[in-house]
Every structure is written in structure tokens, then in C-alpha cells.
């Protein structure tokens, strides 16, 4: 497993249990868990999961209006007070993604966008060429771009150069629940970046989210792991604790791995009980 290559800007000696907010494009969040709304079995379960997760930012997609159920998701989300982050899910080209981002800006009156430009339906892996193209167009148009990307350190750097507000590398394909397949790349991405790194996609269970934070990610974005869990509300609470625990462990500074034991109890002053017999 990859070790963090450097402290992530925090003096570990000074790390305490006080305020440790996530800051993206000047906006402050106390929660480092971004919970997507996709895949929930029903709106009631979704609302309870959102609240249990403690999230302050949630993703939504844009789709043709359904006159049979207009506004109910919108009403629910406004009721929770959670900030909305429109995504460009389902876009395969920069052109479609830019248009969808513009529609999201109109619908939700926000310049923020989770930019997704995927290559194909089977893998849903980001298309790096289209992604970078869309990023450049949207940044030029004044958007705050949070870019869903591959776990590629070079692409992450190119996205940052293009002006993204956050780089969001995948741990594994969307919805796969495979966890973090390349922790070494994530460590390299974290080391080089000045913007927040949000682990996005691939999380299967709480330990995956904790690991992402231990590796130095600034936040975790997940949806399926909660919404398609057998008990979404319970998993939402698990993810909240996992992200908090992983963040604290990162700030605390873990011990190095070693092959052999290192006694935590001193041998000094050990009694000699094997004499006089």
C-alpha cells in the first residue's frame, strides 16, 4: 500500500481535533463527504441517507422533466438545505458536457459543475481528451469545475493547469465498488496538486473511504455505495464516520510499516524470575 509521500500541508504536530474544513473555490464545508443522489430506491430513503451522511454537497443530474412527478426531488433537496452540484453524467463529448453544464447553471443558479465526460457505457471511464477540452471551455465561461477524472497524475496536472477547482480521480469504475485500485497514483496526484483532491467513484464500503482519506484525499464523493447498500441510511452513517476517521488518521500521521515487531513495552526493568530455583 502506498505511503503518503509528504504531509498534506498540515503540521502533524499541530493537528488537533479542532476545525478542519474542506475549502473548494473559497467555499467552506465541514463535511468531507460528498454524497451523490444517484441510485436511491426512493426519495424518503434518499433524504434520510443524506441527513445521516452529514454531507453538505450533493450531486444531481439533469434529465427531461417528468410531468408526472415534477419538482419532488428539488423540493426534497431544498428542504435539506444541502448545496446542489449539478453533474454532466451521460455526456460522451465535450460539446454535450458544456451544454449540459450550461443547463445545470440555468436550472440551479450555480456556476459549479461536476464535469463528467465518459468514453463508453461499459466502463464509464473518463475520456481524457474530451474532458480536458470541456474543462477549458467551461473555465473560460466562468464555471467552477470539479472534474471527474482517471487516476492519472499527468491528466490531473493538466486539469489543474486548465483551472479546475478540484481534481476528482476515480478509485475504480463508477458503481463497481472495487475500492482504490491504484493508491500509488493517488499519492502522486495528491503530492503534486494545489487544489483539493476528491476521490470520486469506486468506493464499495467504509474502509475504502477511510483509505482514500488516509492517502491524503481532501474529500470523498460516493453515491452507489450508499444508495444501493442493503441499508442505505446505515451505510451513509458508516461513510460519515469512515471519512472522519480517515481524515483524522491522516492528520495524526501513521506509523511506518515494518517487517518485524517493535515492542511497545520496554524491556528495561524486566524482572528476573528465572533464578533461585
Amino acid at each position: 500500500m502506498a505511503e503518503p509521500l509528504r504531509p498534506d500541508g498540515h503540521d502533524t504536530d499541530a493537528a488537533d481535533l479542532g476545525e478542519d474544513p474542506l475549502v473548494i473555490a473559497g467555499e467552506t464545508f465541514r463535511s468531507r463527504l460528498i454524497l451523490g443522489t444517484g441510485g436511491a430506491p426512493n426519495l424518503d430513503e434518499l433524504e434520510r441517507a443524506l441527513i445521516a451522511s452529514g454531507t453538505e454537497l450533493t450531486t444531481v443530474a439533469l434529465r427531461r422533466v417528468d410531468p408526472s412527478a415534477p419538482g419532488s426531488l428539488f423540493d426534497l433537496l431544498r428542504r435539506t438545505g444541502i448545496r446542489l452540484l449539478p453533474n454532466t453524467a451521460g455526456c460522451f463529448t465535450a460539446r454535450d458536457a458544456v451544454r449540459t453544464a450550461q443547463m445545470g447553471r440555468e436550472a440551479l443558479e450555480t456556476d459549479w459543475v461536476k464535469l463528467e465526460v465518459v468514453a463508453d457505457e461499459r466502463t464509464l471511464l473518463p475520456d481524457p481528451v474530451e474532458l480536458l477540452d470541456a474543462t477549458e471551455q467551461l473555465v473560460d465561461d466562468g464555471f467552477v469545475v470539479l472534474a471527474y477524472t482517471n487516476d492519472d497524475p499527468v491528466l490531473a496536472r493538466r486539469l489543474e493547469d486548465a483551472g479546475v477547482a478540484a481534481v476528482m480521480p476515480l478509485g475504480a469504475p463508477i458503481g463497481s465498488g472495487m475500492g482504490i485500485r491504484n493508491p500509488y497514483n493517488l499519492a502522486i496526484i495528491r503530492e503534486a496538486a494545489e487544489v483539493p483532491i476528491v476521490l470520486d467513484a469506486g468506493i464499495g464500503t467504509a474502509s475504502d473511504a477511510a483509505l482514500a482519506m488516509e492517502l491524503g484525499c481532501d474529500a470523498v464523493l460516493l453515491a452507489t455505495a450508499v444508495t444501493r447498500a442493503r441499508h442505505p441510511v446505515t451505510m451513509a452513517a458508516a461513510m460519515r464516520h469512515a471519512v472522519e476517521a480517515g481524515r483524522l488518521a491522516r492528520r495524526a500521521g501513521r506509523i511506518p510499516r515494518r517487517l518485524y515487531a517493535e515492542a511497545s513495552t520496554s524491556f528495561e526493568g524486566l524482572a528476573d524470575l528465572d533464578t533461585g530455583g
Partner: protein
Amino acid sequence: MSAAGSEGAVRLTVNGDEHVVTPGTTVAGLVAGLGLEPRGVAVAVDGEVVTRRTWPDRPLRGGEHVEVLSIAQGG
């Protein structure tokens, strides 16, 4: 819609379906006619986003393709 078949009716495609409105109907009128609150809704005509403040000033013309979107669950 009552204008269907009447002289000058404007035939559109809305979200992939045929839709007829009366001449002079604007984007704002279309959205209201669909029973939608403007908040949380975005409209594109022939692939171009129509900003909300210009909805009342944008009449719809025959043959135009209108997309009316709102938020849906998504990661």
C-alpha cells in the same frame, strides 16, 4: 392543446414528443403550460440554452426542438 389543428398553430418537438402551441407562445408560456415551476428547470431550443430571464422574450417557432430539463437523481 386546444390550438391543435387551428390555423397558425405552432408545431414543436418538446423532449422528443410533438407539441402544439398557439402562435406567440414564449418559452415562459411553454414552461407554465407544462405545469412547471421555473425554479429547477432549464430550457434549450435547437441545442442552445435559453437563459431564464429571456424566457418571456423568446417566442417559439414551428419546427423547433425544445428540451426542458430538471434535476434528477445522479452521482
